[in-house]
């Protein structure tokens, strides 16, 4: 494609800079939009990379983020960086940095009018050390009040207050964010595989910005395809529960107490104590969290154990991974108010393995259109080098594509071609694992 160039380099350090300069020279494109995707290995070099890009394309609009890996016709890499250089008037970029989900995403919706949107935002943002301390103190205070609450109403009130704090400082719930956006929307819900302070980073106009939301509006002939790895959902709670029971090896029905995005208890215990009892996992201490994990970018953000919540609205479901963090009230990455309090504890697995993800590529309408897709990053710990099979499949089916491996994406559409298990609200699909989307653009110029 003449008006689209993909520049990648798996290197780090000086090699990366040299490689990038050379490849930008060879690219021969007057890009009006630059999309930059760095990986964790080149996160520290993003500033230098953006300086080079700004020097080369000073007039271009630019955005990007840190991802876990990227996929091109040449290879799949989890290191280095990739840049999409696009010469097209059909892409517009808008951004906001409001505090609450409602404010941030309503403003974003007013800014970008296009009917097809891709929105990137930090679903979970880990702030600076001082703010992390503050959040841990809030957790202790509200958990102290929660365990002394007299009745369920008081418990819910406490959780609601804590949920509002989490939302204003740390979490944009994936399903709630999409509610405020019109048209067809694909959500890149950023959350690193291994967390560190001030992560995940987003890039905007050649600068790094913290906790902001970016929206790419697409005009013209573009379509968004969604895919999940699960069977279709049931028509009632029991139906869906049976399907989940057959799909996952080991399931257990549990009772939770939550409000907003805060989970107070599972079967009468705090979420972390419940997990400890189930799998005898060691709890990460507060000191370990601050010093060993967050400072070294090593806080695990995914887990093979979790809760599957079933939606009251659609009877679809979404999973939330559980980790042994030193907290009393457990935060959720999606708003829980439209879910049943009775949910399912699971040990995760994907039936059919990596081949289940081929379904996303089968949805493409034509071979020669440009495809941009986002794959759930759980494929890295689950399948590691088998990811190359996905790339081989894409290579044999598409002429031009670019894929990224990032945290589990979400999609909002008027209707879907099947009863997706992950459709947790009418028109909104999201799950803690196994989701992917593909943006197919047929007329880029």
């Amino acid at each position: 494609m003449e008006n689209l160039k993909i520049v990648t380099s798996p290197n780090t350090g000086t090699n990366l800079i040299e490689d990038l300069r050379k490849k930008l020279e060879d690219a021969r494109i007057d890009a009006s939009t630059v999309l930059l995707f760095t990986t964790t290995s080149t996160k520290n070099m993003a500033k230098k990379v953006m300086e080079i890009l700004a020097e080369k394309y000073p007039q271009a609009q630019m955005t990007g983020c840190v991802v876990e890996g990227y996929m091109t016709k040449e290879a799949v890499w989890t290191r280095g960086m990739a840049a999409l250089l696009i010469d097209s008037e059909k892409i517009s970029i808008g951004y906001t940095s409001g505090q609450t989900t409602e404010k941030a995403f309503s403003k974003l919706n007013r800014e970008v009018k296009a009917k097809k949107k891709v929105v990137a935002f930090p679903m979970v943002y880990i702030p600076d050390p001082f703010s992390v301390l503050k959040l841990l103190a809030y957790d202790r205070y509200y958990h102290f009040r929660y365990i002394r609450a007299k009745d369920m109403e008081e418990k819910k009130r406490i959780l609601e207050k804590y949920s509002r704090i989490l939302e204003s400082k740390m979490i944009y719930p994936a399903n709630k964010a999409l509610r405020y956006l019109d048209g067809e929307v694909a959500g890149m819900n950023l959350m690193p595989l291994s967390g560190g302070y001030r992560s995940p980073a987003l890039y905007l106009n050649f600068k790094e910005c913290q906790r902001c939301c970016v929206c790419l509006g697409m005009k013209g002939n573009a379509s968004i395809h969604y895919h999940d790895t699960f069977p279709e959902r049931g028509k009632s709670f029991d139906d869906t529960f049976e399907i989940l029971k057959n799909y996952f090896g080991k399931v257990e029905r549990v009772k939770t107490v939550f409000s907003g995005i805060a989970i107070g208890e599972i079967n009468g215990k705090s979420a972390v104590d419940f997990l400890k009892e189930k799998i005898r996992i060691r709890k990460i201490s507060e000191e370990e969290l601050k010093k060993d994990k967050l400072e070294k970018n090593g806080l695990p953000m995914v887990s093979p154990y979790g809760l599957v919540f079933i939606s009251r609205e659609t009877h679809g479901s979404s999973a939330l991974g559980l980790q042994s963090y030193p907290i009393g009230i457990y935060p959720s990455i999606f708003e829980l108010d439209r879910f049943y309090e009775s949910c399912v504890y699971i040990g995760e697995l994907f039936k059919e393995g990596i081949f289940n993800f081929y379904g996303l590529f089968d949805k493409a309408k034509s071979r020669d259109s440009f495809k941009f897709f986002v794959l759930d990053y759980n494929v890295i710990p689950m399948f590691s080098k088998k990811i190359h099979l996905l790339n081989n499949y894409a290579k044999s089916n598409f002429d031009c594509y670019f894929g990224i491996i990032a945290s589990n994406p979400s999609v909002k559409k008027n209707s879907f071609e099947r009863r997706y298990m992950t459709e947790i609200e009418r028109g909104i699909c999201f799950n803690g694992t196994g989701t992917s989307f593909m943006l197919e653009i047929r007329d880029l110029p």
Partner: protein
């Protein structure tokens, strides 16, 4: 040839968690080696590795193994057969598990590229 090998291996040579990137011949002679940490423990490990290459390759081919790897504390040594006469050795020191999973994805690219290079030369 060496320049091309160096280019293919460059994603690993500047990575701080990769302590050693080396390509050995079957007789234990290194064709390419980049050592990022010059400490006695790494040098001792390299010395020992030279004597292990031949037997590692023998096991990889006779037992149809993809690779041989062993872990000592948080140091992981991975030996991957590139061809019938070449072994790629990586010494990785990573505290957290995700870096190791990601390595699996990237190693595949590098080994494939080295294999292509060897075929192209022969």
């Amino acid at each position: 040839m060496l320049l091309e090998i160096s280019r293919i291996l460059s994603p690993f040579t500047e990575d701080p968690i990769v302590k050693v990137t080396a390509l050995y011949r079957i007789d234990g002679v290194p064709i390419f080696a980049k050592v990022n940490e010059r400490s006695s423990r790494i040098l001792n490990l390299l010395y020992w590795l030279e004597s292990q290459i031949k037997s590692s390759l023998y096991y990889i081919f006779t037992r149809e193994l993809d690779e041989i790897s062993f872990t000592c504390y948080n140091i992981e040594v991975r030996m991957l057969a590139v061809s019938r006469t070449l072994v790629l050795v990586l010494v990785i020191e990573a505290d957290e598990y995700t870096s190791r999973y990601k390595f699996d994805v990237d190693i595949e690219n590098v080994v494939e590229s080295l294999r292509e290079l060897v075929e192209w030369r022969t």
